[in-house]
Symmetry: C4
Subunit: 357 residues, 4 copies
């Protein structure tokens, strides 16, 4: 089946997009997109962890205006959310990364393009409007390839580098393997050459970036550098010491190493360790505006949305992405209003409680 | 299908009424009535939370008389329970609010009429017998409309105002949206005019009541004022300071903001904070007489029953409501007898234990 | 279908007897026997609670002889288990209480006959062999009826009175009500007259025994008196103070008041409160020899087995009861052997651990 | 059906082998192999317990080489894993123990042969390559039979004795009994004579080894002696005091006594009690390389793999075993790489966290 051209009336939340995408996508692509590592326990934990915190609303608060702006890296974002750098978006819809960028732009939401995008990075950023566009970097085995990618991204207008550090080797994608997934014709990582991908554990480890590599990159670009994929408190502290602009607390949506804790479970531990003057983003498992509210309360400055991009693209292309983002915006605003928070700065752990039934 | 004219022999408890209602109601109405906000986690928590406390019965206690009377706002109620102000009761049965009032009157149970009743408030109270009848108020965008409603309620004979403060904006009723629910012909909020309902977040927030509004209402009526929808301990204390007559600890049956804690989980925290000399009612999730017993033990003076009104109306009209209330009365009396409590004042946390299996 | 005449090879444990009984019994009788009060949460808790304690076996212990004898009320029992006083056993099998007595006698297991037995108490005890036979007493509304029952039991040779104190009123047997259960022709409480059963809450409470009644009974019989149905620690202490011979920690298999804690959860609290020199039996939820082991470790002197009598009777009559009891004996012996316990006195909480996964 | 001759593409992990084995094996053999004692709660706990610990990965660690070698009893093993002594392997595949040995040898993994092997112990060790081969001993009722077995094992070249101490009597294999399992023609314990197996509890206890038996064995052989089946901390300490070479913390895969704790739950308690200078192996429930990582972090020097041998043999014979072991090797290496552990010695509880959602 192919994607729909209007939004069905029975799509009320992100889970509904997932339901549609499962129907509309070929099975192997579906399992590649929806699947995760091994037994997918981390993926499940990501989504269920948010229920651990209950919301405490406030009544009669007199809040009449909801302001969701946040300042990230010196730029004002209308909303504390960016699209995560999801690979191969043409798997979900022919419009691919251009489609998701159009959806993001329509909602004034920031965008992060993956190194493994199926569209040329220069083409995607053409559709950028006012919200920022960042580039996600997989360090390449050859330093010159890495440098070339950085320079292309800079030149094209990407305003930050998000270096993924949690996936030096491929995860155990058992579900994907069982489904026999291979990239279909016409979908490939067009911004790099195939020979750049190391094969096998040893080759991957040889090519893996180190703290030294990050230093080298920081010295080679004027772009702010964010490290994506931090879970250990110690790594968050090392990142801050190194002087990077920020981190993304993330377990890669559970796609790399199974039985890692839910990202959001590590957030407050990491925020406590690094202090308040350091940019922390968070991803993995956010499916509701209330999840965003909770992540912010627990220490995140903003969040990234990953798989739902693909669910929405698969269902209704760019229109789907825009609508999906609109749902999240509405849900966050409603949560803020009911909790008596007029601005992002008002969101704190005072609005959360953890009561075990 | 239409409602039954006798009570089927296999209705033994409130869950049985829910089962029948699901069969008898048109699907959209069913999902409007039974549904809740977003993923309905709060609705589920409301119902499952009571199992957290186990009952410790007492034997050979010599109790030979069970007295369930409570004094609420200076009036003696035969039972520590009122019907909650459920909107649009004609959705469940043609008799609507008159039907539920007849059922309540037959069992001598107090009644709260919703601003969004589908029957004129003057018509409903005509069926009042000895038990009290209160009016639930949604503050209207225009002060004069609010005042007019209050005066109509006073004039008609309602003896308290229950102001709902937890729903300044509509909840995310995902299930209801998917089911395509709209009010059918012949069912509407006949006590207000359509133009009084604000549309959209901004309009809702502009029209939302504040603590100042409550003060203004208290100055405009001789009726005691109860605030419905308190979850935060701080809001309970503010309410008491303002001088209202009481509060309803409630999350609106999970219909407004999902992932709020179960109402009953907040009860003892709130009772502890406000002290014993302040009226606390509680609703959300009460389906058994033992649930009423537990809510009273945890600090409530009385409870409200919501959705079961609709389940019972849909199943067997006024007769169903009367029977449903009778079941709750019998169940509470049995629980009191087995726990050795001759009167409501005897019910305390000494009869509860929380043992985790 | 009627009961089997041989034990099927696929009956390996008590749960298998339950499975067969469900197939073989008429549905209303099945739901009467297997059902419990309200939502049956206490019944479920009774069975699942045992998994809370894990067994710590001991190796190379040198135990070569397993002795399961216990002294109860001055009599040596070959096994720390008695058949509980289950009512109306002819519902399960035409042999009724005689059948279960034959099964118990074959395994040298003690027996407690219910006041609500469907067979004359004199007839049942005719089948007694070496193991003790006790009589369970429901106090009757008229003292002379109570006294007459006691004297009949004494005269017939029952050697203890087990007075049930936790069921002054009938439980909310919702499942039984939905199934439309009534006693079939030929099954009735032949030891009492129908007029002795009070109807309605008030009549039940008027007829309910008190601590004073127990004193009166103790003064009227030379038989040792055991109170069955104690859950509150305070009631256990009152019972000991009154001078009864012992108690049964029991929630009546979850048949009276739902959401009571599992019996076994209260055991160690009660044992700690009353000290070691007081007889404590325990029932509700025991389905494995390892459950017996755990109950003894937590403070019970012996346990009662209830519903499994009916499952086994329904499946294969007296033979089924004997085999069911044999399974429990084998399972307890195996558990003792693997835990290095040569005798009942060796069983203690040292063999238990509570590790949460 | 018979075993496959190639590895199906949809086998990505050990659970996939289990799925295939269930399809390929006759039902009774399947239930014998896959089943466990009683309600199989311990078996389930073994597998689910690992999820209690979440992995904390480290990024940018600079690890470029993964060394999985461990020294066990003075011999270097390429991998901290051995095949557990699973009985009657011809049930799974005609190649039986020879098949599993071939698979182990192909992956350079150590091997433990069961006393209840369905192949002569001399024939199996013929297929040994560089990795060590140990012999599992069930102490026989007659000391001369025991001694003869030990001497055969020594003479054949087995380099350690693993004495199983947790199964002096047969477990309650309810599932196996219901399935009517009996050893099929051509599968038997060829290394012992049938008359050596005691029948019944008393005979089993009479024949059961004691601490004295272990001393006697240690005095009769130059082979290092390991005790398999230790769960109690006290038994671990007694074993160390006696001077054995090591222990296997194991609950026999849940096949002996149900409701024992998961083996891995006892690991750190036991390691803490016996100190670091004592060999501890662990089995029961390991199905992932990450499980091995966690067991090592919690105190094991190496682990044993049991049922998966049979799953893999049944699916694809020796090739299946080799592939199954290869999966575990790859998974452990990946886990080590992502956690920044270059060697087994780097694995510690610092890489684990226990966060409850």
């Amino acid at each position: 089946m192919s994607a729909l051209t209007t939004i069905p009336a029975d799509i009320a939340c992100l889970a509904d997009y997932r339901r549609y995408a499962e129907q509309l996508l070929p099975s192997p692509a579906w399992h590649y997109i929806d699947g995760a590592s091994a037994d997918e326990l981390t993926k499940q934990a990501n989504e269920s962890a948010f229920a651990r915190w209950q919301l405490i609303p406030r009544v009669l608060s007199g809040v009449t205006n909801i302001n969701t702006q946040v300042n990230l890296l010196g730029q004002m974002h209308q909303f504390p959310m960016l699209l995560a750098p999801v690979a191969y978006q043409k798997l979900a819809h022919p419009s691919g990364e251009v489609g998701s960028m159009q959806g993001a732009a329509a909602q004034d939401i920031g965008y992060i393009l993956s190194t493994l995008a199926s569209t040329a990075l220069e083409e995607v950023i053409d559709y950028k409007q006012s919200a920022d566009c960042w580039f996600q970097l997989y360090v390449q085995p050859d330093w010159h390839d890495t440098l070339a990618l950085i320079q292309r991204a800079e030149y094209a207008g990407y305003s930050a580098l998000v270096i993924t550090v949690d996936a030096p080797i491929n995860g155990l994608r058992n579900r994907e393997q069982r489904a026999g997934f291979v990239l279909p014709a016409g979908v490939s990582a067009v911004n790099i050459t195939a020979t750049q991908s190391p094969q096998g554990l040893q080759a991957c480890l040889n090519a893996a970036p180190t703290w030294q590599t990050i230093k080298q990159i920081m010295a080679s670009t004027h772009l702010p550098v964010i490290l994506k994929g931090i879970i250990a408190v110690e790594d968050a502290m090392l990142a801050k010491e190194l002087g990077v602009a920020g981190i993304v607390v993330s377990n890669h949506g559970g796609r790399v190493l199974d039985t890692m804790p839910a990202s959001v479970m590590m957030l407050s531990l990491i925020r406590q360790a690094v202090g308040n003057d350091f940019l922390i983003l968070c991803d993995s498992g956010i499916r509701r505006g209330s999840d965003i509210f909770k992540a912010l309360a627990l220490g995140a400055d903003a969040v990234l949305i990953g798989r739902p991009i693909m669910y929405a693209l698969a269902t209704a292309g760019p229109l789907g992405v825009a609508h999906m983002l609109r749902i999240l915006k509405d849900e966050l605003q409603l949560t803020m209003a009911l909790c008596g928070c007029a601005s992002i700065a008002d969101i704190s752990t005072k609005h959360l409680i953890t009561l075990q039934t």
